[in-house]
């Protein structure tokens, strides 16, 4: 199709969708309204289960089944990237030359690295109490490891990052989530039921029953997954070279 024809299609389709959406927006309840039945029930349920961060309660208790799907999507994407970015028969691995890093950059990144890593772990650990949790902390922790690439060089990064180990960690964390869910089925009433552990004292690290466990599993999964994802992309950019016979 010519670019012009496509533009016409986009104009027609976009205009229709825009009109539809604007009409719908005019029928929506006004922004900032007070009608949130599900939200109010969720807050109530979180408080009865002594989870201070209601979002953590929704994610890891009330709608933990959604989170199972979500972490599986991440898990699937990691396997997918490992497969899609594998070294094929016509490619070979080149050794990246060590690169010189400017001293301020090196000092800065080596200073920030432990801070960022600790922040990530802290954010994971306090998931059920304060904003944050497995997802956010996991991403921060995994990304911080890659400051090594900036501060030292690729080889230093490779030493602290045996990718195979992280792949296994990713899989183990995913199974841990499922197994916790199964424990709910066997020991309690239903799959992913938060009835196995005591709910603890409100606003402490061990409150919320299985919420901290699931949160930790997700944190580990996300951290491992992001490390593997970045590793695969770095591998493609830095190491893998195509052979001449294409």
């Amino acid at each position: 199709m010519s670019r012009r024809a496509r533009l016409w299609l986009v104009a027609v389709g976009g205009a229709g969708l825009a009109a539809l959406f604007v009409a719908a927006a005019l029928d929506l309840p006004a922004f900032g309204g007070d009608h949130h039945p599900y939200g109010d029930r969720a807050v109530h349920a979180a408080l009865t289960r002594r989870t201070a961060n209601v979002i953590a309660s929704v994610n890891f208790d009330q709608r933990a089944f959604d989170t199972l799907g979500e972490m599986t999507i991440l898990f699937a994407a990691v396997i997918g990237c490992v497969i899609l970015l594998r070294r094929t028969h016509d490619e070979h691995r080149g050794r990246p030359a060590p690169e010189k890093v400017a001293r301020p950059v090196r000092r800065y990144s080596l200073l920030v690295l432990p801070v960022a890593l600790l922040t990530g772990l802290y954010v994971i650990a306090h998931g059920q109490l304060s904003p944050g949790g497995g997802f956010q902390g996991g991403v921060v922790a995994a990304t911080s490891l890659h400051l090594l690439y900036l501060g030292a060089d690729y080889r230093a990064l490779e030493r602290v990052r045996p990718v195979a180990l992280y792949e296994t960690g990713d899989a183990i964390a995913t199974s841990a989530y499922v197994v916790t869910g199964l424990a709910g089925l066997i020991g309690g009433s239903a799959f992913l039921a938060n009835t196995v552990l005591p709910y603890g004292t409100f606003n402490t690290l061990s409150s919320g029953g299985t919420v901290p466990l699931l949160n930790a599993a997700v944190g580990m999964e996300v951290a491992c997954a992001v490390v593997v994802l970045l590793a695969r992309f770095l591998d493609q950019t830095v190491e893998i070279e195509e052979g001449n016979g294409k």
Binding site: M1, Q62, F65, D66, A76
Partner: protein, 586 residues
Amino acid sequence: MDASLPLLVAVPLLGAALLVAGGRLVPRPVAETVGCAVSAGTAALALVLLLNSSPPFLEWSGGWTPVQGQSVGIVLIGDGPGLGMAALASLLTLASLAYSWHYFDEPPSGHAGSFPALLLLFQGGMCGFAIAGDLFNAFVWFELMSVVAYALTGHRVEEARAVQGALTFAVVTSLGAYALLMGIGLLYARTGELGMHAIGRGLDAHGCPDALVLAAFVLVMTALLVKSAAVPFHFWLPDAHAVAPTPVCMLLSGVMVELGTFGVWRVYGTVFSGPGGVPAPEFERALVTLGALTAVIGAVMCWYQRHIKRLLAYSTVAHTGLFLIGIGVLKPEADDGIALYVLGHAGVKAALFACTGILLDRYGSVDEHALHGRARELKGVAVLFVLGALGLAGLPPFGTALGKSVTEEAVGGPLTVLYVAASAVTAAAVLRVAARVFGGLGPRPETGSGYETTGSGERPETRHRLSRIPDTMTAVPAVLLAGAVAVGVAPGFAKVVARAVNETGSAGVFTSVHWTPAGVLLGLVSTLLAGVLALLAVARPKAFAAPDRALWLRRLQSGHVGDYVAWVLVGTTVLGALTLPGMLGG
């Protein structure tokens, strides 16, 4: 018993995680055995639950059973249609795992378990989508099955076509998924609920449908119609199904596309069918129009293909059109017919893909013209392929024939003609392939218009080109075809299916489903038509080659991702325009 419903998802996911964790320690046969065992176990669970699903039950994940009719948990629906789709998805996953057994491409080093693991994740996603009773949860499983499907489609990264098809598939489906999310946002704003039944009740409580309901309907349906490849959302399908590895094609065409259709049925029935939703005539108009268009375009394009997998992919498009019509007319008999049709079609289509995979692995090509007469030696495969084509045409006693005849009687009128024509043309195309490739009949056809995808230059999916066809690769299509026949002849099976569908679908109206003389006759007519068309095409290739008039239709299928996105936008507008008229009055 009911509490084990979420296990349909949990078991394959756990299996996949263990396969990845242990994948580098165990040899390939062990990984494949584990994959088959987990998949079979899930299938068994789905069947057991299916047998216990009358009356239908609800399961609240996390044990959040409703208090005063309201819950904060996620509801799962354990009814006949949902569990039936889960069982179908599980059985087909098992079939494709068995088909790829031992022979499929060498996995990347250290990842022996990755391919079976991905298939298990796919199975988990499909089961989750089939039993979802919560709209956001359905989105999550929709995404899982999509993400896995992208990775599986692009699995053979050395193939230029595979990666392009996978990207197109991924972009279009992801866009559809985000449209679904926008729709969920609108529905949540109106009703403040996420469970499908709860949303439906909320819409009814609000009163007459308005623009918001229309927009939400269009956005949600966009995602499901992209998945089920209705025109004009269908462009990704031929590109993806033609390039995916054969075991994956079996799943994509056999059940994933049908899950999109199932989603349309489920979401309309639970969310939009009440007085506050989309009125029945509007829904019927939209679905029957799009379905008829899909059936016609799918059948025509199917006829003009020479890349065999692409041809089969278009026949899936044509059949989805027929499914959408059946769902669109909103009659209990049509629902029953479609349920049987989907079951039969899954077996037939997966078997046809499996046979095509054998051609690919044996001859390194899936081009109808290049393979002319080359597969004469594969007698057994030829029989299976022809049987598959006859099943596609709807020859009694295949399950497809029973399903089709029941639906035909329900829809009536000119739509019956469309059912006969679409199934006859797609089957004729497959029979034409069989006559040329396995029989060497007719003159060798000349190259066509040039604007087409040939099937030569494809690499086999096995490590080496096969010199002998392994027994597993022929046994799988044979069993699948036997299953498709069983759907039609197993005594009482059709009644059970109809009862299971009606229990959820038609509010207590029970219909009886059986072979009728008229149905058998129509099935024979379309088979005969298919045979005649195929013979004519083989004998007179020139007269039946794609005329220049049809070129514009082929040019629409440009392989350009921007075009496809533009069509999705147009599709939403068309869907909105088709649904609009009756909703203005409110």
